[in-house]
């Protein structure tokens, strides 16, 4: 019996190399746990039928002394990342039956290490949402309280790790989709620098915002998984060579900026705010210098995000036409095919965002909405540049409160407002990490986790790892 609860990528690797258990035994243990818990939690949409065969390949590699850190490590992959020959649906009906023709770059990197892909994880349809309630295949429940959401859009990836149904997972983050569910389920979630991880083989949602990121139990594990997937890729022109951003030294005494002003806004749960203040005190006691910083335009972030993102969504979703792949619903002519396929294949939230995006890109509204958003995006980026001249990292809460009850946020705007702290890192393109920072009591008396978010300058994930490891004493 392997104690999955305590297992990390690092410790599992040591056990595998020492021969305490095999990759096959480890995979079997996870499959057993998934069979027991997934019917309730719905973290996985599919468990692959070749898991043990993959594990056997990993065992061969271990036996030959060629094992690397991720060899034999069982993981979950978000349903919008392609694995050749396997289904990928972005949790949408419109991709019914779609089989990936090639491997995403992140997948081929993990395959080279013989990591073990357990299955594809549930998500909000096309990554649009923060609760996995927008999946066409049912909500993912929070393993810590199944009456609550796991968060989203990478809710399945995160719940898989939180229920010990995977040792780690990959998600994607467009406005907080790795960090927010991580905060809700008590895992570590990293949104890398924009362009830091190749998106070749990731279904596009907001192309100026999307990035693939790891979900793990420790900061050390997040670093291991990030190192495995990051780097320049000729298949994705937004990836960059290492020398494009100045290196940051993580070994000096680090300064952490806190934009105290933005914590004064309404809508932040008092217990979550208190937890954040306690985390800052803890960072201070660990030897970090805490500085009050100003980010004058950050109040516009959420509005900017909910203009740019739907604009990009409306463009990216144009490819789903019932001709090239997935669902086809017959109409009276070709136009009718489009109307019916897209009208029935897309869920309500996807259609809502396509409509908003189409509106803000229309003649007459383009300048008022889209152009103004681009100007503000630049101003917010300037604010961050100024702040990072003074501090090495910026701390905020991850979300305004703990995981909400399933069905509680039925009004879309109220759900959008929960993203207020996470969207900025995507707008600016900087890396950000969600660290579990303890629990808060909810109205029904449960203790639910909340997270501390740290942001760093472009390509300075090393700063986030250094602070995170110290925060947890890793």
């Amino acid at each position: 019996m392997i104690d999955l609860k305590k297992l990390t990528i690092k410790s599992a690797h040591e056990h595998l190399v020492k021969g305490d258990f095999s990759a096959r035994e480890l995979a079997q243990e996870y499959l057993k746990n998934i069979a027991e818990k997934n019917p309730q939690i719905n973290a996985y949409l599919e468990i692959y039928d070749d898991v043990l065969a993959q594990a056997d390949e990993a065992d061969k590699k271990i036996a030959s002394g060629q094992a690397t850190e991720l060899t034999g490590i069982p993981l979950a992959i978000k349903d919008n990342i392609l694995i050749a020959g396997k289904k990928a649906s972005s949790a949408s009906k419109i991709l019914a039956g779609f089989v990936a023709p090639y491997d995403a770059t992140v997948v081929s990197k993990l395959k080279k290490q013989n990591a073990v892909f357990l299955g594809r994880a549930n998500m909000d349809e096309f990554a649009m949402g923060g609760s996995t309630e927008n999946s066409a295949f049912g909500v993912t429940r929070n393993p810590l309280d199944p009456t609550r959401v796991a968060g989203g859009s990478s809710g399945g990836s995160v719940a898989a790790v939180a229920m010990d149904g995977a040792l780690c997972a990959l998600g994607s983050d467009t406005g907080g989709s790795v960090r927010e569910p991580s905060a809700f389920c008590g895992t570590v979630g990293l949104k890398p620098t924009y362009g830091g991880v190749s998106r070749h083989g990731l279904m596009a949602m907001g192309s100026s915002l999307d990035v693939i990121g790891p979900v793990t139990k420790t900061v050390t594990d997040a670093e291991i998984l990030f190192n495995a997937i990051h780097g320049e890729d000729k298949m994705d022109a937004t990836t960059f060579p290492e020398n494009i951003y100045p290196k940051k030294d993580a070994n000096k005494k680090l300064k952490i900026g806190v934009p105290y002003e933005i914590l004064k806004q309404d809508g932040i749960d008092p217990a979550t705010k208190k937890n954040f203040e306690d985390s800052i005190k803890k960072l201070e006691s660990l030897g970090f210098e805490i500085v009050d910083i100003k980010l004058p335009n950050i109040g516009y972030s959420l509005a900017v995000y909910y203009i740019l993102m739907p604009a990009e969504v409306s463009s990216n979703m144009a490819r789903f036409d019932g001709v090239k792949y997935g669902l086809h619903v017959d109409g009276k002519d070709l136009l009718g095919d489009y109307l019916k396929t897209r009208g029935t294949g897309f869920g309500l939230e996807v259609r809502r965002r396509i409509l908003i995006g189409t509106y803000v890109l229309s003649t007459g509204y383009y300048d008022a909405y889209y152009t103004k958003s681009l100007i503000l995006r630049q101003k917010i980026s300037d604010d961050f540049k100024t702040a990072f001249a003074e501090v090495d990292a910026i701390a905020t809460p991850v979300v305004t409160g703990p995981a909400w009850k399933i069905g509680e946020k039925s009004d879309p705007l109220s759900a959008y407002l929960a993203d207020v702290f996470t969207v900025t890192a995507n707008i600016v393109g900087v890396p950000a990490i969600s660290l579990p920072s303890g629990t808060v009591a909810t109205a029904d008396g449960n203790l639910m986790p909340v997270g501390l978010q740290l942001m760093a300058p472009h390509n300075a994930e090393n700063i986030l790892f250094a602070i995170g490891k110290k925060f947890f004493g890793e």
């Binding site: 090639y102 022109a237 100007i375 101003k379």
Partner: protein, 100 residues
């Protein structure tokens, strides 16, 4: 203030059939979302400043795969095909039931 007619027009532009009941629901929701994001409309600034920050990364237009490497895997996903072609309804005029 966005109207039900606006929503119907946007649905047409984006090629989605939406029921009348949903048009009603979406009109209210989208109106409140646009009300919220509209706070940015009074921003002033210069768009040209964006140019030095973002730039295009170009590469030679060379094939990254061998001919036919992915053809079958890609076409196998098509709802309707004939040999190596995607099959769609007639695009221009005439009897719309004709398949070409």
């Amino acid at each position: 203030m966005i109207t039900t007619e606006d929503i119907k027009h946007l649905a047409e532009l984006s090629r989605m059939e939406i029921s009348d009941a949903e048009v009603q629901k979406l009109t209210g929701e989208i109106d409140s979302i646009l009300g919220y994001v509209g706070q940015i409309m009074n921003t002033t600034g210069d768009m040209s400043r964006e140019v030095p920050v973002l730039h295009n990364v170009m590469r030679e237009d060379e094939p990254t795969n061998t001919t036919g490497e992915f053809t079958e895997a890609i076409l196998a996903n098509a709802p309707s095909r004939e040999k190596n072609y995607l099959k769609v309804k007639k695009i221009l005029g005439g009897n719309s039931d004709d398949i070409i």
